[in-house]
Symmetry: C4
Subunit: 264 residues, 4 copies
Amino acid sequence: MCSSHDNTIPAASSTVNDSAEAPLAVDPSLIQDLVFANHILFDQGVLDAFGHVSMRHPDDANRFLLCRNMAPAQATVQDIVQFQLDGTPIDAAGRPVYLERFIHGELYKARPDVMAVVHSHSPSVVPFSVVKEAPLRPLCHMAGFIGAGAPVFEIRDVVGDGSSLLVTDNRLGAALAALLAGSSVVLMRGHGSTVVADTLKKAVYRAVYTEINARAQLQASQLGAITFLSPAEAQATTATIETQVGRAWDLWKKKAEHTAGYLR
Amino acid sequence: MCSSHDNTIPAASSTVNDSAEAPLAVDPSLIQDLVFANHILFDQGVLDAFGHVSMRHPDDANRFLLCRNMAPAQATVQDIVQFQLDGTPIDAAGRPVYLERFIHGELYKARPDVMAVVHSHSPSVVPFSVVKEAPLRPLCHMAGFIGAGAPVFEIRDVVGDGSSLLVTDNRLGAALAALLAGSSVVLMRGHGSTVVADTLKKAVYRAVYTEINARAQLQASQLGAITFLSPAEAQATTATIETQVGRAWDLWKKKAEHTAGYLR
Amino acid sequence: MCSSHDNTIPAASSTVNDSAEAPLAVDPSLIQDLVFANHILFDQGVLDAFGHVSMRHPDDANRFLLCRNMAPAQATVQDIVQFQLDGTPIDAAGRPVYLERFIHGELYKARPDVMAVVHSHSPSVVPFSVVKEAPLRPLCHMAGFIGAGAPVFEIRDVVGDGSSLLVTDNRLGAALAALLAGSSVVLMRGHGSTVVADTLKKAVYRAVYTEINARAQLQASQLGAITFLSPAEAQATTATIETQVGRAWDLWKKKAEHTAGYLR
Amino acid sequence: MCSSHDNTIPAASSTVNDSAEAPLAVDPSLIQDLVFANHILFDQGVLDAFGHVSMRHPDDANRFLLCRNMAPAQATVQDIVQFQLDGTPIDAAGRPVYLERFIHGELYKARPDVMAVVHSHSPSVVPFSVVKEAPLRPLCHMAGFIGAGAPVFEIRDVVGDGSSLLVTDNRLGAALAALLAGSSVVLMRGHGSTVVADTLKKAVYRAVYTEINARAQLQASQLGAITFLSPAEAQATTATIETQVGRAWDLWKKKAEHTAGYLR
């Protein structure tokens, strides 16, 4: 535990100066997919007015794309901003950015295989973040990616008591990335979770099924001792099911665009 | 306990005479925001056909604005009435008013810092109002405003057994305000809760997240011992997160107006 | 227990001959209200494709009005049929009628004060019907009408094992009415519940809040010992709150007609 | 347990060669009903982007009809494919097919009385699949078809540890069918459930009420010891209630087609 960290409140709504770098153009259909991901995660109940989803820049591994500071359900292609991995915006042009963009940047730094990141407060996952004796583990074949169980990030271990619980700088982002290590899901105590994958569609899929698995685990834990997936099953189910994520994406996109239609 | 209180049934649907004072004009956009607050709190599941939200008069600290007696989801700007802090309407003009307007008036009297009040029966909060050993406490960073835990108002302590559980006069309103003291949330046994804040948008935000925190606490309590926010974390999270309530307000307003469109 | 009862399967979808009596005209706005009640109870999650709501004939205490055998959400004024209290239809004109119309007729016979009846499988109530040690009791001021707790009808006590659990004749309806006695709500083991009131709007209100109270009781029972309403509070809350049911009716009707619009 | 099984990952999205047989025309209204069944099961929350529903070919007991590999909510009549009971498509014409079509084929082989099959991950059922001491049993009259309780298929008993949990070949399908035996519902550990009936509408009805019964059982189990349906009651309720499934089908179809309208 370290009490020397500066727990002052970050200037949340102030703008951050853009870096001197020039933005690097991205295929518009990929930007559009990131917007769809924002809408889908809201429509599926993973994000509400808070939380965010990013993708690594397809042509520059040292950048990522993330919405400006706003409700994901209302994002448009004009709202997607390029960032350096240290969280400095490249083309925010004075628009406020998310306080917790450091989650994304540090995960991309630590995990070259990761191409997309979802950070959410998805409701059934939060309870697992605050009960030490109840780790989130995969109990159904759709959630094998949870593997041996999701580690829980205790921010007090890094900055001591009295923080905002938010990952508001690179040091906290790096600590989170270190705990995630090779896993796909990390919980954050009293806060939420972060999910990673090697494609955007897979990250969206995993964020949705992290919530579904958590709901099932909450219910099953009331019935008795749970048979979780074995390590070998977690691996085999992930390999098989994740060939099918396009099926979910196509449906969720249609449904989400219907919802987004009246949120614009 | 006091059995001398008059537990007769208040004339709920009869009208109350307006005071002799003249109404004091309010910026129409503020009235419109109060109407949006009514719609949002319904759409987010905090209010149903019952419950209410008020704001203090922006130009006269001795008045507040509250909808006439009707379902909040159907409120329009024409339905907003000015009241004196003792609950006397100023421009009801014969329209029935809420039985429990005394909650609002007495809270504005006791707490000069409070600018908005939400009283609701939000469903996940009610269970915490009837189980003595289970205080509602903040377990996630979005609900730091719950602070050290919400006190529970036991109406029997004021008027003895046999009441309607409603806060139907100034004496009950003052007792509720005394229990709330400096907190932001007070539960009411077998009834619901009341939430206060220094802006309307913040009061709406807090009412929504009181419900979300309650739901998470219900679930977490089935998993094991809960790590709640520490006092210092409750304070820091509140200070940080509540700079972001506009993000939620903008989304919720869009969503609520879609719903309100078919409820008129 | 009595094993002499005839547990043969009633001819559910066959028609029943009308009585020789002539139908007695009813104010069309009352018929329309009964249709709205059908739609509201579906939209509020009390009825699904099953369950029914009736009202006593306003001009003949020996008759009641009930929809023909169909999903309540799709009912129109043309679908409302008059019945004698013994369950014989008067103007069904060959259209199939509900198997369980005997619930309604026998309750109107036993309780002259009852003017409307809702029979449902509302989901949070069913668990209380199958757990002997967990009576449904009022824990919030909106549900004072549950009074000292809802009795549970065990059909095995009347016809022994092996029944369809349905109230398919007058004998079963009379046994249910005898158990209800002076209460407002009776549960039916492994089946659902029946709610009565002295007006249609109040019966609808009570059916909705029986479900809401059950949901809250399920949750509160996981937190610890519950403080229920005292008998005096149950009485006082009922008297006060039920002056306000029009507020809920007006909102629910608007919402239900929106839903009904795409179910026709 | 058998560890000799080949746990390699099936080529999920690759196409399968059609058999040399010619398709046998089916009454278009039956195909349309199968499409409605797909939409209803999504709209009722039984299927999400995954799971499937099939019917036996009305004119050839050795064939069945099942959607191509896609989200059921988006199915159209053009997406229905004929299969041989061994899972070989007849007119897929290069379109990918479901990995788990073997569930359907083997159940039709083993159970000549079965005319329709629903395989789902319906959310409240999954918890019962992973807790050995908590069998799913019928507690309400709408779910008598669950009979003496649903057996749980443990795939490890067939292929050992390390499988994808999916029923991806005829051997696994046959093992599942053997466990189902004469029942109507079989759970699959860490996966979901499969429901059968002698008509399509009844299979849809049963899949919906398997979920509803599971939800009620989860809740009731928190309240105390449950009185389940006796064997005689399970039989009598099934015989009576299932004469009424058309009522639910008609409502669910209307509701589902409204939803399907914005998913196309």
